[in-house]
Symmetry: C2
Subunit: 333 residues, 2 copies
């Protein structure tokens, strides 16, 4: 079945032209007559010839691949963020005739990243999460390979893109404060993650802008397992908390469960808000107020920016994408 693949030489022989001509017909570069070109293209179309990406890669010192690096972290695996993002990346890449190669790294071990870079299999890399102090970023800087981070980085010379988590969080909290809600707790994610810092800052921005004093005791970070959530919620209930803002959906689900277990009503007794607008939250009863980000778009823009950079077009070094606040029943006063 698997008939031998056709090469550029086969075509050249068949059409009695040189392979240079065939190559030029395809790429459009170099001088070539319209007639010859048409003849070649017709033959190619007819016989469904596709040049070998690998030979092309060797000749041009380009792979037409980009690397998508994502964390292998178990906690993160229960939210389909990376899947959605990858979908956007992949679609954009395909439309620009690139392919996407996936690599998994952990916070501490970047050896897989090294493999990816050193094998010369990619022209550029998307780092799909940034840490406050990120080894992967340092490594890529050193190597000088084109890359872009999803999530901000202090270093402005790095191409980076993110949803504007700080402003998003600020807007959400401002809206809640403007409703007269004051005792508001923040349950945040991993402190080493850049995004947690951004959101925390947004939370603080809201308070300072409205001149409302901030109670640091209500800020919990590194809330990364359910036992901790339960404890915190219990404390907060005793403390007569008015509102709980959760930095991600898994925290939020657990908060909701704990509240239900304790027979605390939402929003009557306590209001709840969250990030990432998953269907789970939207369909919940009561529907949960949350921020929403277009992850698919994030993936597309990221990919486009990286490829532009690879192809040495001008790119914006820092891009912040939008968000939406969906106020729902869970925060009704």
């Amino acid at each position: 079945m698997n008939k031998k693949k056709m090469t550029i030489d086969d075509i050249a022989r068949e059409l009695s032209v040189s392979k240079t001509t065939v190559s030029r017909a395809i790429s459009g570069k170099g001088r070539i007559g319209q007639q010859t070109r048409d003849k070649v293209m017709a033959y190619i179309k007819e016989n469904d010839y596709r040049p070998s990406a690998i030979a092309k890669g060797l000749a041009q010192q380009k792979t037409y691949n980009i690397g998508f690096v994502m964390p292998g972290d178990c906690n993160l695996m229960d939210i389909p963020f990376f899947q959605k993002c990858l979908l956007g990346v992949s679609e954009m890449a395909a439309s620009l005739d690139y392919d996407v190669l996936v690599s998994i790294i952990s916070e501490r071990d970047i050896s897989q990243l090294e493999r990816l870079v050193n094998n010369h299999k990619v022209d550029g890399i998307i780092l799909s999460r940034t840490l406050i102090d990120d080894e992967a970023v340092k490594y890529l800087c050193e190597k000088g390979i084109p890359f872009i981070t999803i999530g901000t980085t202090k270093d402005k010379s790095i191409i980076q893109i993110d949803n504007d988590h700080r402003r998003a969080c600020k807007e959400l909290v401002s809206l809640l404060l403007s409703k007269g809600i004051r005792k508001m707790a923040l349950l945040g994610g991993d402190k080493t993650h850049m995004v947690s810092e951004k959101r925390l800052k947004g939370y603080m921005d809201a308070y300072s802008e409205l001149g409302i004093p901030l109670d640091n005791a209500l800020i919990y970070m590194d809330v990364n397992n359910n036992v901790i959530v339960d404890e915190i919620v219990e404390n907060l209930i005793c403390d007569n908390i008015e509102c709980i803002v959760c930095m991600d959906d898994f925290i939020c689900m657990q908060v909701l469960n704990k509240l239900r277990k304790q027979k605390i009503r939402v929003p009557a007794d306590v209001k709840v808000a969250s990030f990432y607008n998953s269907l789970l939250l939207e369909r919940n009863i009561p529907a949960i107020t949350s921020l929403s980000f277009d992850i698919h778009e994030l993936g597309m823009v990221t990919c486009k920016t990286l490829i532009d950079h690879i192809e040495e077009k001008e790119v914006q070094y820092r891009t912040l994408l939008g968000y939406e606040v969906s106020m729902r029943e869970s925060t009704q006063v």
Copy 2:
């Protein structure tokens, strides 16, 4: 910064040997003296040389890449199945020195798959979902490229792997029947998906094995949006249903919401069971009875099998992986 990459010629020159020798030292193939070999390897280690995968690929007519093809379907995107599976695939691939290239296709349009195959960028392909009548499978068969499907296929000559959904479903339903539950509805997914058929058969197996008559009116397929779920649940309630078995977690979440909205208690009034053991279901109150599959392992085994096949080792053509039934509060009688 980005110092010029080292090539095999550089090393050969530096050590005054031929590049053949260097190549042999690395691959271990061919005749080479131990001393020379050590010298070369030492130099390589010292200077952190990595051969260009692309040049190697051209010479060997191999890419050391495998393609992971997943659906771009929006509905599926809210369950992190593909993400988890990809994680397993990627880890296994890396350990065997392969890389994973991701491609998105839709049910109808396999043009992206064609791109992947025709660009000669992969040595083999993982198709991460099978349909009853699958264009992608047909295409790959025709092309004669090594591939494996996650999900079963009627054609036994295709390498395929899956969790044993039929037996899993049968066991779950049998357990429920053995508790005396009789009026049990099945809310199934897309009929065109192979996995839905398997589960449905499992459901039927349980009834026939126990010699209990089956009420076809209680089987709902193609339950793929929330409006439909709400309608069905409403009907079922009127009908005094005893138990609702959901074929996936999103259906289940919606069932639970609807029941709560209607003030129906679980499990007192209606029992509920689901597939895929997501944390959401486990942490729910009441905890939901469900099947669980080790997706990460599925990814690993799939990848290993494909690579074995690529390297022309013997592989098992049909592999069915295990499952676990977690009986929880939601089905207590």
